[in-house]
Symmetry: C2
Subunit: 235 residues, 2 copies
């Protein structure tokens, strides 16, 4: 796969993190020389996805970006998965496994990127609650064909900053882990090309639980300390 000419599906791309992901992935074509990636928003309904694609493009246009150099389109999740080489699952953990069954036949050899975080709210704070496999990423890996490569990434990126394409100058670290070295390298490059994130190698997929648990930590720290949209930097 060529990281500069990819078809990238954002399944569940009409949700909170999905919206920001779509904008940032589309912006790669302007942020980094040579990149010509196509973004496909996947949703349960094609109409919702098409609406989301239009609204993403008009938001980028309103912010002054040259949308003639971007492609964002809307499809059903199945069609999006069928067309794309790489899929980002911006979906609630409860809905991920059924969706994987639905798209199973069209994801052989492809890359699935999981920012999925299983968590529950208790006493006003969030608690990481991984499935028996140890993490959402490992549960996903168990559910897909052996040739599908799983990459866990983007758990610790604040949705608000991801969506705020004009104001966000902050550069946060994004942790990426996978058992497939090539897929990991590709997602790290995509991440770098997004302009607002610095990728760090997080190791094998077994390490995904620690990355997933950063999401409830960030939400809790923000709430407890009167902060907002927290990201992480390591130094």
């Amino acid at each position: 796969m060529n990281p500069e000419k990819l078809k990238i599906a954002v399944l569940g791309g009409t949700g909170n993190i999905g919206e920001g992901m779509v904008l940032r992935l589309a912006l790669q074509n302007l942020m980094t020389e040579g990149v010509k990636n196509e973004i496909i928003i996947g949703s349960r309904s094609r109409e919702t996805a098409e609406e989301a694609a239009k609204s993403a493009l008009s938001e980028l246009e309103n912010c002054g970006f040259d949308t003639s150099r971007m492609t964002i389109k809307g499809k059903t999740n199945f069609e999006a998965a069928q067309e794309a080489e790489i899929m980002v699952l911006t979906i609630h953990f409860d809905h991920v496994l059924p969706l994987l069954d639905e798209i199973r036949e069209v994801i052989e050899d492809k890359i699935i990127v999981s920012p999925v975080v299983p968590m529950v709210k208790e006493g006003g704070l969030f608690i990481y609650k991984p499935p028996a496999e140890g993490s959402a990423a490992l549960a996903i890996q168990k559910r897909v064909p052996a040739s599908t490569k799983i990459v866990a990434a983007f758990h610790n990126i604040p949705a608000g900053k991801l969506k705020d394409v004009v104001k966000c100058k902050a550069v946060h670290h994004a942790l990426v882990c996978s058992d497939d070295a090539e897929a990991k390298k590709l997602v790290m490059e995509l991440t770098r090309n997004m302009g607002c994130l610095k990728p760090l190698d997080g190791g094998p997929l077994k390490q995904a639980n620690t990355m997933e648990s950063l999401t409830p930590l960030l939400i809790n720290l923000a709430k407890l300390n009167g902060l907002k949209d927290l990201g992480i930097n390591f130094s």
Copy 2:
């Protein structure tokens, strides 16, 4: 307890994190107006602890600090716990519970600060391995008298930067969690007074597992990405 006039024991203060903790706690008296805390290094052997106290003072003196305004002394762990109002356990998890049994009779109503992280090495990387209680902090809480207050803190502070009192200009976040609001506030203030750390409220002690799991994450990220002594900043 008055955060400006405390007797603070660092049990296991002759180890890697312990050394840095002793230096930084002693430096509070210079870093923050009005602070006159005494530091007691605890070790299995009084001689080792006394040696460590001398060596900490001479290191601080060599770095140009006015050591006449600091107190660092060495004692056995039991004597240190007996004398102190607050104890930092810079000890390997395997040795923590036996030590608590040893000092149990002298820690009623006192504060125990746990930066303890149970972890194992697998395939070159570290994996967080909490005890059945859910975290080292919760295991510690179970082992001490009901009046002893447990505060989990300092897990994500790089030992190298903590020890490097001259060069370290970096300010990292330090997460602090506890079920006792007053004890948490006190430790957050101590942390702020150390000069190189910004405390963040991490919530109740139940959240300690997420904080403890940051240590193997930081060590792994450093190793995988050719970095060193990583700390965290949230923004």
